[in-house]
Every structure is written in C-alpha cells, then in structure tokens.
C-alpha cells in the first residue's frame, strides 16, 4: 500500500517536473526569434511555423480549461461551448472591422458579450439535466453559428455572411510572438481562475451541485445562480480565446469560429487530463492537440505512414484519431484522470477493472 503510494508520488513528481520543463521551453523558446536574441548569437529554437501550432495548442488550453468549469467542476455536460468562442471572435471581429476599434480595446468586450449571452441562455438551459442539457447546448451552439452566418439587413449580411469577415492586420512587431504570448496570457487567466474557483466557497458550491443538486440546494447553495455564474465564467474565458483568435487569424467565418468538432475536442482534452482539476485540462489539451497536428502531418517532426499516399494521409490520420478516441474511452474511462489525480496507478489490472466496471 505505502510502496504504491510512494511510487505514485514519484511518478506524479516526475510528471510535474517534465511538464514544467516542457512548458518553460515552450514559453521561452519563441523569444530566441527576437532580433536582440539573434544579435546575441543565441540559436533559433523555433520558427514562425511553430508559433502557429503553439498558439493553436495554447488556444485549446484555454478552451478545455474553460469547459472544465462548467463541465468538470459543475458537472453540466456542455456540448455547445463553441458558441462562446464564435461570439467572442465575432464581437472583436465586428468591432475592429466595422467599428474600427483598436484591437486591445475591442478584445475585452469579447468575454463580456460571451458571458452575457451564456447567462441569458443559461437561465432556461441549466434547468435541464443530463443528456437534455448536452443536446440543448449543442443546439444553441449550432443555431448561433447559423444565425451569425445568415442574418441579413437590407439585403446585406450583417456579420459578413458566408464569405466571412476580414480584419485589418494588427500592426505589431513580431506578430506571431505577440499572439502566442497573448494566448498564453489567456491560458494563464483561465488556469488561475480555475485555481481560485477550486479553493473558494463558489467552487465548493459548484462541486456540491455536481455531486447532488438537491442536497446542494437544501444546504443553502443558490443552485440557479451558481450554475449560471459557472456557465458565464466558462463562456467569458472561451470568448476571450475567440476574440484573440479573430485578430490573430485575420479572417473569420462560420467554419473556423463555430466548428462542432471543437466541442468534442475540448471535452476530450479535459477528460484525458482530468476533469475538475486545475492543470488536467491544460495537459490534456497540449497532448491531444499535438497529437492531432502530428497525425495530420503538420508538425516538423513527422513520419511517413506505410501504404498511405500523401493525399490519403489526412484521412488516415482522422481514422487513427477516431480509433484512438474509441480505445481511450473504452479502456481508460477514469484511468488517466485517477492517475494524475493521484488516486490510483495506471496498470494492466486497473485497465481491466475499469473495463469491467463500465461494460455490460
């Protein structure tokens, strides 16, 4: 027993140290592209290509961490959070492209508008439980995306319509670097907020709701207000990522700001890393997003799949991703989570047991 606990602690420590080193490298390596660093003869550790992928990875850190607040901590399986991403993106995008606001002034309105929208739809939606909430939130996600693309006024699309919305390029030196660190800032906020929530009265109320909503209510938790607040908080963080995305990507449309697969990806990331924890969703986001990019062949370190032509490669990558998803869900329902949560050791017998627990 004690030996297990010790080795477990050791593994966790190794994981934290490795994670810390990787994170520090990822955060600092981009700095070598600065002129000053180049002038000082420091070797270039990353290029622009990496910035883009790294920024995507960090964006998913924000999305998964934000989802964790409503899905992991509060226990409401939100399946339409991408709506908040899109609302954030279009808020900033419209303010910059149409109202000519400067980016940094327009950005703060993205989380505000996303949170307001979440509070508005959350009031009726969060009365639903289980599958019904999941389905309804998915419906909201889809409906918002379609409305944004299709709303016309006097025959003109209000939000750029099907052809999307172009933003002026943000004039800043080292753009890639700037947006990478800006996204990192958003991730830091998301993680800090989660850390605070889990140590606050608010967080205890949310966990109580997740564990048993009726019991939470009769000990005095204002369940409606708490659920709506958690939903709005998740929406604000998601909207912030969307706002940054719009200026970073310069072009936004329904496809890149309301993609349904983001809903699934952010949940999977949180599940992989550990729902309800501070760093779990972030770790899951990094792992899964790198894997997706790797399989898709967009990472510099790549490999050739045997018997697969280059055209078929992205498709085969998706098949592998799907199979991986199936395997992970079947064999490790709580495994990874419990492991990083320090509750158990990832072993063959554990896999067998978790399989037995969930099978028919």
């Amino acid at each position: 027993m004690i030996a297990t606990a010790d080795s477990q602690r050791r593994w966790r420590r190794i994981f934290l140290i490795v994670g810390g080193i990787v994170a520090a490298y990822a955060l600092l390596a981009p700095l070598t592209s600065l002129d000053a660093a180049q002038a000082a003869g420091i070797p270039l550790l990353t290029d622009k290509f990496w910035f883009r992928i790294a920024t995507y990875v960090v964006m998913f850190v924000v999305l998964a961490t934000a989802w964790n607040i409503i899905g992991g901590i509060t226990g409401y399986a939100a399946f339409g959070n991408v709506a908040f991403f899109g609302i954030g993106a279009y808020t900033t995008g419209m303010l910059i492209a149409k109202a000519k606001w400067p980016f940094l002034v327009a950005l703060p309105l993205a989380p505000v508008l996303a949170a307001l929208f979440a509070a508005l739809v959350g009031l009726p939606l969060l009365r639903l439980r289980g599958h019904y909430f999941a389905v309804a939130s998915l419906g909201v996600g889809v409906a918002v995306g379609e409305l944004v693309q299709n709303i016309d006024y006097n025959g003109q699309p209000v939000f750029g319509g099907a052809s999307g919305l172009f933003l002026p390029i943000y004039a800043v030196g080292h753009r890639g670097l700037f947006f990478f660190y800006l996204m990192c800032g958003a991730a830091a906020i998301a993680i800090a907020v989660t850390w605070w929530v889990l140590r606050s009265r608010f967080g205890y109320g949310l966990i109580a709701i997740r564990e048993n909503e009726d019991a939470a209510a009769v000990i005095g938790v204002n369940t409606t207000a708490y659920k709506v607040a958690a939903f709005a908080l998740a929406a604000a963080l998601t909207g912030l990522a969307g706002g940054i995305f719009s200026q970073w990507n310069v072009f936004i449309n329904q496809d890149n700001t309301f993609p349904i697969e983001y809903n699934v990806q952010m949940i999977l990331m949180a599940l992989l890393g550990g729902t309800g924890t501070v760093f779990g969703p972030a770790a899951g986001a990094v792992l899964l997003q790198l894997l997706i990019q790797f399989l898709g062949g967009s990472l510099p370190i790549s490999f050739d799949l045997p018997f697969v032509s280059s055209e078929a490669r992205p498709i085969v990558a998706q098949v592998i991703l799907g199979l991986l998803l199936v395997v992970v869900v079947i064999f490790v329902p709580r495994g990874v989570i419990d492991f990083f949560g320090g509750r158990t050791r990832l072993s063959l017998s554990y896999l067998r047991r978790s399989l037995r627990d969930t099978s028919l």
């Binding site: 399986a77 289980g130 693309q149 998706q318």
Partner: protein, 289 residues
C-alpha cells in the same frame, strides 16, 4: 391559402425523410440511453450501399432499401456488441465521445473507399411527379414518405408484438430486472442498436435518391435526428413520426420566410428544439421518463 397548402404538403413530404432519420436515433437514445453521434454517419453508409447497388447492378433504389437495412443491422449489431457495450455503464459524456469517435472512423473510412465526390442516385423516374391542385409532387418524395411511414410502422410492430420487442421494452424499463428474468442483455442491446442502425440505413437510401451524398454529409442528419426526437418526445415510435413531420413543416415554413436561406431554417429548427426542451422536456407527444 394555396401557398399555405403547398407549404404544408412540401413540409410533410420532407418530413418523411426526417421520420426515417429520427426513429432509429430515438430508439437507441430511449432504450440504450445513448445519444448516438455516429447516427448521421450510419445514414450515409446506407446511402452508399444504395448508390453502390444502383450503379453497379442497376437495382431500383427502392429495392435496395431492405439491403440497406440488413447491412446496417449487421454493422450496428457488431458495433454495439464489440465496442459500445463496453462503456454502457460509464457516465454519459463517455458515450458521447465514443460515438463521436466511431463517427470519425466511419466517415473517414468512407472517404478512403469512395472519395469525397458527391454521388447521386437517379433512377429513370427521378425528377418526375404529378400535379395536384397546382403543386407538383415528385414521385420519389411521395414514395419516400410512404417508405418512412412503413418503416416506422414496422418498427412499432416489432417493438410491441414480438419477443425481441418485449425484451427491448424490458431492458429500457429496468436493465437489472430484465437480466433477472433471463434476457440476454448484450444481445438485446446489440439488437436494439442494430435496429437503430437499420433505420438509419433506410433513411440513407431515401436521402441518396433525393440529394447527392458525400461521406462528410452525415453530421446534419445527426443534428436533425436530435431535433426530431426532442420535438416528438423520447420513448415512442409514434412520437418520433410526429416529430419528424413537425420538423419538415417547420423547415418548409422557415424557408418560406423572405430573405432566409435554407440554412436559416436550420437555426429556426434548433431554436424550436431548445424551446421545446426548456418548456416541455417530454416533447410534444411524449411522457416524462
């Protein structure tokens, strides 16, 4: 007035396909408590079976429907028996993720086999129809509405009058009690999912006759199945039929709003679904579970 009648008829005709798409999804959700995100992909598989039989052997597409049903039943049975049964006791998010993973696999395997080109099934009578009170009613649409009603009736009959149907009712009501009276849970679960997949396959066959299909076109059908089942109410085939026809009507009237594209109608349908969920979670026809 004539325009109104026209919209009602068009809506009901379109609703036929939605009924077919919805019944299988509703069965799997209601009985297995699985929201099957792979449903749309199964619909498309059915579409490709019909297309393949039509192009390779010149088989009449309506005659391919039973083949769709059998093929998809086998596929569905295998999926549930081999994969989904293994997480049936896990929290609901896991079934979401698992079926999404299956969706990803099915869609991309279809892409590898058939490519991303749009395929359509055009028998000699496609595009033909007859006129009724100033409205042209396409034969294919009318026949597919008939096929959908036939499919639902058959399913309802199977569920209420056969041994298998009773077992399915039993596992839906109480899994553990059903096991106690000697029902083979794994088999019955697999049969249920297989039936759901078979319905999806027939729906796919019908859809292939009405519009061109491509492997990635399945997602909207999963979403439509949601709306249909929610509108009608979970747990009964007849409720899904009502839901499907209602969805067809909503879509027809939504598209008739000046200035709104066909996609806009989708937003209206989803808005309606959310409204129904919030105000009447048991659906228009359903009982609260």
């Amino acid at each position: 007035m004539a325009a109104f009648v026209q919209l009602v008829i068009l809506g009901l005709l379109a609703g036929g396909v939605y009924v077919a798409v919805g019944v299988g999804f509703g069965l799997v959700w209601g009985v297995l408590n699985i929201v099957n995100l792979a449903h749309g992909a199964l619909v498309i598989v059915g579409g490709y079976v019909t297309w393949q039989l039509f192009t390779a052997f010149g088989l009449d597409p309506f005659l391919t429907l039973p083949v769709d049903a059998v093929a998809l039943f086998v596929l569905g049975y295998a999926l549930q028996r081999g994969v989904i049964n293994r997480i049936i006791r896990a929290p609901l998010l896991f079934t979401f993720l698992l079926t999404f993973g299956l969706n990803l696999v099915i869609v991309n395997v279809l892409l590898l086999i058939f490519g991303s080109d749009f395929r359509s099934v055009t028998p000699t009578y496609s595009g033909q129809g007859f006129e009724l009170g100033g409205i042209v009613i396409p034969y294919v649409r009318l026949a597919s509405l008939g096929a959908a009603i036939l499919l639902s009736t058959g399913l309802a009959f199977l569920l209420s009058r056969t041994r298998v149907g009773l077992s399915i009712h039993a596992i839906a009501a109480d899994r553990d009690a059903a096991q106690l009276v000697g029902i083979d849970l794994r088999h019955t679960y697999a049969v249920t999912y297989g039936l759901g997949a078979a319905c999806a396959g027939v729906a796919g066959g019908l859809i292939a006759m009405i519009q061109a299909i491509t492997p990635t076109a399945g997602e909207p059908y999963t979403l439509q199945a949601f709306v249909v089942v929610i509108l009608g109410g979970l747990g009964r085939v007849s409720a899904t039929v009502v839901g499907g026809l209602a969805f067809g009507l909503v879509e027809a009237f939504g598209q008739s709003i000046p200035g709104s594209g066909s996609v806009f109608a989708n937003a209206i349908a989803f808005g309606l679904m959310v409204l129904v969920l919030v105000t009447r979670p048991q659906g228009l026809m359903g009982r609260l579970r």
